[in-house]
């Protein structure tokens, strides 16, 4: 149903097998597909043109590496180019030498400034800071009330102040009072939530400049919706021209937008994307990873680098032998199990591998668990299997209580861990056996899925 860019590029290159050099002609089709993919992902069309020109200049004349198909090679060039565009800056908040550090939030209406202010305060709090929140949005009904509720929810301090009239004078007064309050209360960071405004609204943009003068912020963060379309370049450019932004927060990344606006905004402002918002809870703020969003923009997860690594590191022949043995019945021994673990280990840490899965589609949410993975666990399993005799590895059923004790001692683990491993192994074995049976496939095919 949904053909991703990677497949399209492969198809575009089908006719080219055996050609040794990338030329303007033989990558033309692929670049047209790339152009469409980037436009569908909402990258601004002028930015797309620049990128394509760059990529073409880089690709043409390159020797096709033996290990990659021409399609894969172009994808690699594209990815490298996009990652380079987004930059490698990590999320780091610039702190003032003299506290309080002021962070000024800016952006269009509805981009998520208030929620992000709360998330940022929460993030700083968890990092041992004492943030103070203030809302100077005197215009939108209940905007200041909203930040109050947010602050209460995350148990952060807020300067409420009084709100007499909805005008710039009130805004300036609130800003001054909040800064004084931050100093008196010993808060080291002041987060200033502002009213959403259009980049072409001179009066409100002037107000923003005045706030900048009063507060002398260390950070001016542009909060932008990940769903923004072609106009992202224009609003980001205007905000940057008037305020000299120091960073970007891309919100609503838990939706299914491709997020091409990230490329547009980075291109016109040159400022790093520092955080992404990934949910409505107050801890749903994450540091930004350029490589991950590039894969998302291209619609292919980071599966590609996963495959690349697998191909580099996994012995294909060995894997195939093992697979056919395992599926045929009882052939999957503890020794095969250990081999497999070693192959996986060669690909890098489990954490990294999980992080490379696409953040949308069937893998949604899996990256979140990456942090919980215990890398040492694999080492312990290896040690347990290595402490078995060859006979035990091929005939697990002989491993009785006293053998378990011996294995646990030999591997420096506990009997409980040995038991766990044997249980897991038995499960896997059964699964493989089921998969090998022809009927299993039929059973799957015959299953009724809801809604089908």
């Amino acid at each position: 149903m949904f053909e991703n860019l990677s497949e399209k590029l492969q198809r575009a290159f089908k006719t080219l097998r055996g050609q040794a050099v990338l030329t303007e002609e033989n990558i033309g089709e692929a670049l047209r597909e790339l152009r469409l993919a980037l436009l569908e992902a909402d990258v601004n069309f002028k930015v797309v043109k620049e990128l394509i020109d760059h990529i073409q200049a880089k690709a043409v004349g390159q020797q096709v590496a033996t290990s990659l198909s021409p399609g894969e090679q172009v994808i690699k060039i594209v990815r490298d180019e996009l990652v380079a565009t987004l930059g490698t800056d990590t999320a780091r908040v610039k702190f003032a030498s003299q506290p309080p550090t002021v962070i000024l939030m800016a952006g269009l209406q509805g981009s998520g400034k208030t929620t992000t202010s709360g998330k940022l305060a929460n993030w700083l709090k968890n990092g041992g800071h004492r943030p103070l929140l203030v809302s100077v949005d005197v215009y939108r009904p209940a905007a200041r009330e909203q930040l109050k509720v947010v602050a209460h929810a995350i148990k952060a301090n807020i300067y409420e102040g009084s709100n007499v009239e909805a005008n710039t004078a009130t805004v300036e007064r609130l800003a001054k009072e909040a800064k004084r309050e931050a100093m008196i209360s010993g808060s080291d960071v002041l987060i200033v939530d502002t009213a959403g405004r259009l980049h072409i609204d001179d009066q409100l943009m002037d107000e923003m400049q005045s706030l900048k003068k009063i507060l002398n912020p260390s950070e001016i963060l542009f909060v932008a919706d990940a769903m923004t379309g072609q106009d992202a370049v224009r609003s980001a450019d205007e905000f940057h021209k008037k305020l000299s932004l120091t960073g970007v927060v891309l919100t609503k990344m838990d939706g299914d937008a491709r997020g091409g606006a990230a490329l547009s905004i980075r291109q016109v402002t040159g400022q790093p994307i520092k955080f992404i918002g990934v949910g409505e809870k107050y801890d749903a703020l994450e540091p930004f990873h350029p490589d991950r969003i590039v894969s998302r923009i291209l619609g292919m997860g980071d599966i590609l680098s996963l495959i690349e690594r697998a191909e580099q590191n996994v012995d294909k022949k060995k894997a195939q032998e093992m697979a056919s043995r395992a599926l045929s019945g009882d052939g999957f021994s503890l020794e095969d199990f250990r081999d497999q673990l070693q192959q996986v280990k060669k690909m890098g840490s489990i954490k990294n591998i999980m992080g490379m899965l696409p953040s949308i589609g069937p893998f949604a949410g899996m990256q979140k668990h990456a942090d919980k993975v215990d890398e040492k666990q694999i080492g312990r399993i290896e040690a347990i299997i290595s402490s078995m005799t060859a006979h035990e590895r091929h005939h697990h059923e002989v491993i009785n209580g006293s053998r378990r004790k011996r294995i646990a001692r030999g591997s420096g683990t506990s009997v409980q861990e040995v038991n766990n491993l044997l249980r897991q192994y038995a499960q896997m074995r059964k699964m493989f056996k089921d998969m090998g049976k022809a009927s299993f496939g039929r059973k799957l095919a015959g299953m009724k899925f809801p809604g089908m």
Binding site: Q146, L147, I200, G229, D231, A232, G255, A257
Partner: protein, 322 residues
Amino acid sequence: MLRSLFGGTDTEKEPAKKPGFFERMKQAVTRTRENLSERIEEAVSFNKEIDRNTLEDLEATLIGADLGTTTTQEVLGKLREKADRKQIKDVEELKRLLKAELLAILNRANVPPVPAPEGMPEVILVVGVNGTGKTTSIGKLTQFLRSQGKSVTLCAADTFRAAAIEQLEIWGQRTGTEVIRTKAGGDPAAVLFDALQAATARHSDYVIVDTAGRLHNKAGLMAELEKMRRTAQRIVPGAPHETLLVVDATTGQNGLQQARQFTDSAGVTGIVLSKLDGTAKGGVVIAISRELGLPVRYVGVGEKADDLLRFVPEDFVDSLFD
């Protein structure tokens, strides 16, 4: 300018309030237009026919307005055929035909909502992703209906977002409209039930239901909308009679996905295109109309109570090329 475009009522008042804004917008777009026209003029005078560069410029205009590649290619494909067959003689005709293609898409979708049964309130459910301007649009729509002498009951069913209820209540005060509410974190279907009963008892002409913003890929939250629809039907037959999806004009191609999912779960019958007073063109609504046949009912052009205008397809299409 936008006001006159969309048939607003108080054209005189606007320029005085925000001096320079419309002027500047006009200047900016005139520049693009001149570039485009010049190039088209050039192409035509040289070849006496439409050349490929002209179509490429038009493509940039449509893509730049967020129509998306599929809609753009389809529309331009039709033009290209005609140009190849030399049926288009000059640039004016080319532009006229392009506008006609876009208008055809918007007009095809222009179906009026089903009226409520006699003596029952018309229920309008307002949905959308976070931050598109649902509550503000409701405030303005209430003002619009009140100015036509209709009675309205507001239902604060966004019980999730901080201070959303308070925000709607302020709009209630501004427009002299009663807001039926529950406490923060309450059941949205329950407050909808209360609001519909109150409105039926009071013979309100309209009930407008504010819902929490939700991303369309969250199945649980989308199911909540289905539940609200079922609740509404139990009290008022055929309710909701209109389900408006609020789409932010700055939204790109994800708008199409939003429309698909919300139509699936909430049975969207019309679009409110908000924040059209910025520089974004909101062209994704053409892609939405093309695929889902959904009409655009209103456009939002500011934060004041009377900044909601009825959608006029001709003016909207013209604004894409301004």
